[in-house]
Structure formats: C-alpha cells, structure tokens
C-alpha cells in the first residue's frame, strides 16, 4: 500500500513536470489564452499535492527508522526532491513566476524516480550519526542544492529569452518567460542563498566531526573536495559579477556549470569514488 502511494507520488510529479514543460512549449498567443491557464493549474496543483505526499512519506520514514531518514538513496533522493519543490514553491509565492517549474520539476521527478527504484532498500545508520547534527547538516546542504537548481532554472530561462530576442520575429509572442533582467536578478539571488546555505551546511558538518570520534575524519574525502569545488564555482561567480560585471549570459552559463558540479558532488562522487558520505 505504501509502495503504491509512493508510485502515485511519482506519477503526480511526472504529470506536474510534463504539464509544466507543455506550458513552456506554447508559442502562440491564442493557445496561451485558451489552454495555458488550465495547464498551469494542473501543473501547479500537481506540484502542491505531490509535495504534500512527499512530506508525508519523509515523516513516515522518520517515524519508522526513529531518526532523520538519510541513510540510503531512497531517503536521500526523496529529500532532495522535497527540497527542490520547497524552494520552488517559495519562489513562486514571492515572484509568481511559475515558469521556473518547467526546469526544476523534471529534476525533482528524476530524483523521485531514483528513490522509487531503490524503494525496498534500507540501510542501518551507525549509532554515532543518529542525532540532530545529521538533520541540520543534510537539510542545509540539500536546501543549498535546491537553490542552485533554481538558479540553474533561471539561467536556462535567461538563455531562452535571449535567444528569442535575438531571433526577433516572435520575440513578443510569448509572455510566460520574464525579462532578461528579472531572470538574471532572481538567478543571482538564488545563487547567493545557495552559497549561504552551503557554507552553513559545511560549517555544521565540520563542527559535527568534533563530536564523533568513532568515525575517522579524512580531509581528502571525495565528497568534501567536490563540495569545495562547487562552492568555489558559485563564490567565484558572485565575485566576478560584483567586480567585473559578469552577469546575464555569463552568469547563466556559470549557473549551468554549477548545476553539473552539484550533480557530480551529490551523485557522481558516490557512484565512482570512495567517500565516507556514501548512501549505501
């Protein structure tokens, strides 16, 4: 039954992603006026209901395991999707820019798909890790990832709008995507938010190591290094923007590079390198 409900959640996310992307594919004003409101409504309600389901599942696992569920890919990716949706919903609440969902919801869907495919697996969490440090550390890191993914979405939106403006003829036909200035500015804010959260997450993580002696700490841990690379990419972007006027197009490309770095840190390191941060 629980498995079935999780499948339902997965399908809701799939539907929300598809409808979000469809809404972006509309190019004529006629279609926009006739069907977009319906599509957007479905997509948005799908996102809301999917998010509620996901929250319930995480709560359920928490109760079952007796500690914050973050032991296996199942928990981890579900929480990843949860964080992405949360940040997206907050951004929509503040800016009314639903178009962002077309870029971030598919990422959330893939995360849940991974979670679903591992659904029967569980792993035991070592005793010393069961505490609120785990909760604080992972929540901060995942919210940072979600903010970076939102920045990535804004970067793609920027590039799409720019292409339309350069293509000229149908530059004005679609009013879904915001202006270049808006995409760029919001992407930048998301980046700053992400850097702050990531910095805090890393600090919490390193303080945590002071409290656990049983697990040996290695500075050369693959995840740690990869995280620093990611952090550096975003900090460099902020610096270049402040001092050299690197915004707009370049910022959009950096957001895409940063997104790849986030994926490498989160998934890649686990699959191909050895680390104490693995979910297995």
């Amino acid at each position: 039954m629980i498995n079935f409900l999780f499948l339902v959640t997965l399908l809701i996310y799939l539907a929300a992603s598809i409808f979000q992307t469809l809404s972006l594919a509309i190019s004529s004003r006629t279609e926009a006026a006739v069907i977009r409101p319906t599509i957007e409504r479905i997509a948005f309600w799908g996102t809301g209901i999917g998010f509620a389901f996901l929250t319930l599942f995480i709560a359920l696992w928490w109760l079952q395991q007796g500690h914050f569920p973050m032991t296996h890919w199942t928990d981890s990716t579900a929480f990843f999707a949860w964080a992405i949706t949360l940040i997206y919903l907050i951004i929509v609440r503040l800016t009314h820019l639903r178009a962002l969902g077309s870029f971030v919801m598919p990422v959330a869907f893939i995360a849940i798909l991974i979670s679903y495919s591992f659904a029967t697996h569980t792993a035991a969490l070592p005793e010393p890790l069961r505490n609120y440090w785990l909760l604080a550390h992972t929540t901060l890191i995942f919210l940072a990832y979600a903010a970076f993914i939102a920045a990535f979405g804004f970067g793609l939106m920027y590039l799409m709008t720019e292409r339309k403006i350069r293509k000229k003829t149908d530059a004005l036909l679609d009013n879904l995507l915001p202006s270049l200035g808006t995409s760029d500015g919001l992407g930048y804010r998301c980046t700053i938010l992400g850097v702050i959260l990531l910095t805090m997450g890393v600090i919490v993580g390193s303080l945590w190591t002071q409290y656990i002696r049983d697990v040996p700490w290695r500075w050369l841990d693959a995840k740690v290094i990869s995280t620093f690379v990611t952090w550096f990419i975003y900090v460099a972007q902020i610096g270049l923007r402040q001092f050299w006027g690197w915004h707009g197009r370049r910022a959009a490309y950096t957001a895409i590079i940063g997104f790849v770095a986030v994926l490498c840190t989160y998934v890649g390191v686990d699959l191909f390198l050895d680390s104490m941060h693995t979910y297995r």
Binding site: L180, G181, D184
Partner: protein, 433 residues
C-alpha cells in the same frame, strides 16, 4: 413589431471620398436625431460617425418589415447628404435585426476595424451612444442593444487576446524593452538624431517609466529643441560615443550616410558600462548602427525591418484571435436577439391576461351582487372562473411563445392580430425592458 436596422459605410467598402460625403458633424447628428423624432417614422436612432465609418442604427415599429425600415434610412441619407440612391446602394451595407445586432457587436469589439483589436472604436461608439441618448435618440431597445454591445466588447477583450501585442513600431519597441530590462524605472534613453518616430518611441518609453532622456544631435540647437519636450539633456556629438555609457536604450535616426555606431567603439562603451544591457533601435534608412553590434554580449539591436516584422507577427496573431472573437459575437448576438423577441411580445401577453382577468372580475362581481351565495360557494365560483381564464389563454400563449423561440417571423403578425382582435391597449414603450 419593432425592426432594428442599420445602414453604414466603412473603410472596407468605400473610399474616403464617399465616406466624407456621408459623415455627420456633431451638430448634424443632433439635427438628424431630432428629425427622426419628429418624423415619427423612426422611433430610436444612434448615429456613429468616425473617420473610418459612418453608421446609422435605428428602430422603427410602424413599418411592415425590415426592408421598409431600411428604405426610410436610405431615403433619409440620400436627402440629407444629397447623395444619389444608386451610389448609396453601391457603397453602403444594410443590416436587419439579427444582422444589425451582430454587426454592432463586431464593430464595438473592434473586429471590423482596420487594425483588429484597436481600442479607440469602443470609446467612439460610447460617445455616439451618449450623444444620441442626450438628444433623445436612443430609447429602450437601443439602450439595451448598446449596453450589451459594450459588455460583449469587454468580454472579448478579456477572453481573447485580440488587443494584445504591439501593432505599432513605437509600442513594439517599448514591449521589447520590457523583455530586456526587469523594469524601465530609472532607465535612460538616448535619442540620436531627430525624427517623429524616435520622439514618439521616446515618449512611450517615458510614459512607461524611463526617467532620463539624452538628446544628441550634430547641431546643439536642434538637440536643445527636442530635449525641451522631454525635460532631457541636450548634447552635441562628434563621433565620440562616450555619451552612450549611461544609455540603456538608444534610438537612432540620423541622416548620416555611414554607420554612426560601430561594433568596436560600442564594445568599449559596453565595457565601460559594465556590460549592463543596451537596447539599440535603428530606425534610420540608411542604417546608423553596424549590424555586427548585435554580436556584442548584452547589446540587442533592432532595425526598422525587425520592428516591422514583430508588428506583422503580432497582427497575424490578432487575426487568429479574431476567429474566436467572431464566435463569441455570433453566440451573443443570437442570445440577445432571442431575448429581445421575448421582451417584445411580453407587453401583449400581459395586456391580454389583464383584459381577461378584468372581464372575469367584473362579471363575478355582478353575479355576486345579484345572488346570495355562501362564502364557500363564492370562493368556488371565483376559482373556477380563474381556471377557465387560464385554460382559455393557455394555447394561444404557448403557441405565441413557441413562434418567438423558433425564430418564426410570423410572431409579429400574431402579436398584431392579437392586439387588433382583442382591442388591446399595448403601450409600446417596452417599459419593462
């Protein structure tokens, strides 16, 4: 029965030479409406006279059919404007009843305009209607019709996008600027050279929030003259583009034979302004801005052809929307027409009922006066009489309503026959409309 007819001409079918002959001045409209009122041939009228169209909407009830009503209008126009009936027939269109309603809805919704979706016509129709109402031209039926036309126009504007998208070069420029900058507040526009188009565009930009205007011209005096209009900063330029460092939007329209703004110097400018977005509009022919400029990051160049293409694509889009709007018009016109029919027979139905009831009441009173019946008996007789009245009227009323609902043209004759046969006194002011 009331006949709603209209006669008119527009840019679609008649040349300006004819339209100006048919046009009415404000005073002429009042005069004509007065004439209609006095002549007794036409009960209600509204005259719409704009540069693109002249139309007379009228309601006549003392005529046999719509053709007769139309004939009154043709004769009136021919006499009033001294135009031969033949050329009137050639250059005007006539509409009857449902078609009149549909036509007015189309006009008000701007589906019949030169630029579909333009917003002026709604105001023009409103003015014409108000003028007519003040002069006592519009009565209950036209009041109803025009009020409905305005609400249909509003519905179309909200449910379709026929009014969306810039259809003039200057508005297209404003909309493009809004796609680039997150806000136009606090932005600076530089007008290079002078010209009506660039001033108009700058004006639209300013009214959309742009706060600073720089006017650059080879001759300082001319720059000053244009700058005064915008409370802007005049300056004389000489191949030095440094004044563009502060400019977010550049409108160029000089007579220079060569490119005035070239890629390399502009790239320098862009660097100095920290690569903030720059929207360049080149409306000069020959062009002022080197096309390669658009290869610079964050510099967006549109020339006159690009802007015209944007406008053309918006117009095409409006055309598509117009099809949907036409469906709404047809559906609303039909509904309005049906309602109007029912409202038109209602006074007759009411009068007939009243007559029957009055006769019954009088007879009952006479009968009760002569006899001595118990209260119970009187009540029984009274309710029986009511039942008889009701039953007698049932079929005629039902058939009349059916005739109306079926769109059967005979119902006018039915109403007339009823009124004559039963000597009904139907005051035709349609007070319940």
């Amino acid at each position: 029965m009331n006949q709603i007819v209209s006669i008119g001409t527009s840019h679609h079918i008649a040349p300006i030479e004819f339209r100006e002959k048919l046009a009415f001045s404000e005073a002429q409209i009042i005069e004509s409406l007065q004439h209609f009122r006095e002549s007794d041939q036409v009960q209600e009228a509204v005259i719409l006279s704009t540069c693109n169209r002249v139309e007379v909407y009228a309601v006549a009830n003392a005529v046999r059919n719509a053709d007769a009503a139309a004939k009154i209008l043709v004769e009136f126009l021919s006499r009033y404007h001294q135009i031969g009936v033949e050329s009137l027939k050639k250059w005007t269109y006539l509409h009857h009843n449902l078609e009149t309603i549909r036509h007015l809805f189309r006009v008000t919704a701007s589906l019949d305009s030169m630029v579909v979706g333009e917003s002026q016509i709604l105001g023009q129709v409103k003015t014409a209607y108000d003028a007519s109402r003040e002069a006592g031209g519009a009565g209950t039926i036209l009041n109803r019709l025009f009020t409905k036309a305005f609400s249909v126009g509003k519905r179309i504007r909200s449910e379709t996008t026929i009014a969306a998208g810039a259809v003039s070069i200057s508005y297209a420029a404003v909309e493009l600027a809004k796609k680039i900058f997150n806000t136009l507040e606090g932005k600076t526009v530089a007008i290079v050279g002078a010209g009506e188009m660039s001033e108009l565009t700058a004006k639209h930009l300013v009214s959309n929030g742009v706060s600073n205007v720089i006017v650059a011209n080879r001759t300082y005096e001319r720059a000053v003259k244009v700058a005064e209009k915008f409370n802007g900063t005049p300056l004389a330029y000489d191949n030095d583009l440094s004044f563009l460092i502060d400019a977010d939007i550049v409108i160029s329209s000089t007579n220079a034979p060569d490119y005035l703004i070239k890629r390399r110097p502009l790239a320098d400018v862009m660097r100095k302004r920290k690569h903030r977005y720059m929207f360049l509009i080149d409306i000069a022919v020959p062009r002022d801005i080197e096309p390669d400029v658009s290869k610079i990051d964050h510099a967006f160049l549109y020339n006159i052809d690009d802007l015209e293409a944007v406008v053309a694509s918006n117009l095409k889009d409006r055309q598509q929307e117009a099809t949907r709007a036409e469906q709404i018009v047809t559906e609303e016109a039909k509904r309005f027409y049906d309602q109007l029919q029912i409202f038109q027979v209602n006074p007759t139905i009411k009068a007939l009922h009243q007559q029957f009831r009055e006769v019954a009441a009088t007879e009952l009173q006479a009968c009760f006066y002569k006899t001595t019946l118990s209260d119970q008996q009187e009540a029984a007789i009274a309710s029986m009489t009511q039942a008889i009245v009701k039953k007698l009227l049932h079929h005629p009323m039902q058939n009349l309503r059916c005739a109306v609902n079926d769109g059967n043209a005979d119902h006018g004759q039915y109403v007339q026959a009823l009124q004559e046969l039963f000597a009904l006194d139907v005051n035709d002011d349609n007070s319940e409309l």
